[in-house]
Symmetry: C2
Subunit: 349 residues, 2 copies
Amino acid sequence: MTLFQIPNMLARAVTRAFAPGGECARTEALGPSIPGVGARAGALASFRGAAQPRSGSAPQGLGGLWRSAFLGGTNDLQGDRLATGRAADHRGGNHAVALVGAGPGAKDLITLRGVRRLEAADIVFFDRLVDPELLDLTRPEAELVYVGKAPGRHSWSQARISEALVVAAQQGKRVVRLKCGDPGVFARGAEEADALRMAGIDYEIVPGVTAASAAAAATGGFLTERGTIDTLVLTTGRTEVAGADADWLPALRPGCKVAIYMGVAEAGRIEATLSDHAWRDHIQVEIVADAQMPGQRALRCGPTAIADTLRGNGIKNRTIIFLSLPKDCALASGESSLRIGGEAGQACV
Amino acid sequence: MTLFQIPNMLARAVTRAFAPGGECARTEALGPSIPGVGARAGALASFRGAAQPRSGSAPQGLGGLWRSAFLGGTNDLQGDRLATGRAADHRGGNHAVALVGAGPGAKDLITLRGVRRLEAADIVFFDRLVDPELLDLTRPEAELVYVGKAPGRHSWSQARISEALVVAAQQGKRVVRLKCGDPGVFARGAEEADALRMAGIDYEIVPGVTAASAAAAATGGFLTERGTIDTLVLTTGRTEVAGADADWLPALRPGCKVAIYMGVAEAGRIEATLSDHAWRDHIQVEIVADAQMPGQRALRCGPTAIADTLRGNGIKNRTIIFLSLPKDCALASGESSLRIGGEAGQACV
């Protein structure tokens, strides 16, 4: 083992820089839908004096020594697959498919475990909102497959993605399905897991930072606050059945914060729902767009001005709409804190 | 800049191994409350042939080159503080205090950004449930302060922690407050942020993987599932006012999953509350203890057997109690899906 080996991202960058008709061209061909892919290749090529051709297919990113010592694994893929002891017991790493949370927005919000899975992958299926620079962590020979999922644009169907995961795993490839945020939260991971289970393929989930956490952190705020907000609701503006009622409303009571994912297109309906809310005048709305990204914006507005605020600021995707109803609003109104029961539901609407 | 530099964890381990009366002894003195700290020092000391004494205070973990190239920053502390351009714009790193999410349980669930903040810290205040091996990422000269927060055991008061952060920042130190999971979710981060704001001290929040995400991932499950669970409620078994009603109950409707943090001590009350629930027979309870840790356990039980299940299995801390009420239970019962309104609240209780 060489103590200091060339990280995957450099190897990939150098490969791209020196073989424009190969890996580089294929990645670049994904075009504007994944801006930035390959953009670093030029800059990184200046490191080529230090980089040496990789031998074998051992994943060596994160720095071999650092990784080996801190993460407790060995430094090559085979070792990772056969790892025993504590690390292997609860960390997996020997599953055919890993559903990996990339974290939201900024690439440095991925977990170390997520990095390891990317480093070891033979094939990566990635979404539109994943930071393309994360793909630089893969081995030069890894396949990168863009599956889209942009609303209203060309992309793979969920069924096609699930099938592709199964096929790749059946071919013996080490598969990473790279998803924005946390694979467990509004990421349709369950459908992919179901397909894998039905095909008898072992999978693991590598959790990630979910968008609500990233959005709150980006504004210096918190999702819960002792004595003020003790319940956090994550919900979505979209439901499977178009036009279905938003089911989160009864939860919006004093002491609660609601984070609405993918709510921009439903803003009018959210606003209409809130306009009759008993605590309407106390609801605080905060809109965080492009959290943890260069164009990040945080806006506040009243509960009946959500759609206008979104429209007026040209806000579309990558947005969390927060609705907060602090506990003290009940005290401020001279009413006692709501209790569990039918009255609470009524008071809320 | 040396292309390949010695990671902080090795420097720290070597320092400890060779100076048992110094850094090592101080860390070890924290004793059984943080098992494992220093445990790797011996093993890592075997790397000492490769390690060289560090000069200056530049943080160089994660591999200097990897970090510099992938994360876009420079390779020394000064550069990190003065970083300009895209990375600095939205990623901070030049704040006096960073509230950092360590992720839950396993150390490799921290984000890359969290690692960078640990590497750069002059002083780290850490909780009981943080994986002590994360502290190996700090520089050898960094101060490590255990602030406890074990229920019913000796620990610092929240006010004392907040004050310590302020004082350390006022001394010009680069402060990391390392918290389990995500700093925004039931971590009392808001109180610390308030104290910092009042003292005029700049802070940033580095989000982390919250315990519910880690627990679901550990069991191969998902927090939301299209068409089945479209609302996720994170709440806590503890409230500021002892004996206060659990406010999450109205949210537990078909299509909802509730994740109760710190609920073990309140299991009896949760169970009593659920015993009258209109959908009681459809509520699925899953208890995940020590998620992402070697002793991880996942148990299922009925809604009226939660306390017995916890007691019978000796489950205490680091536990998430999930309550799920799939959408199709409404259909199975021959009732239409609940609509927004007072009726919904009544139907729930």
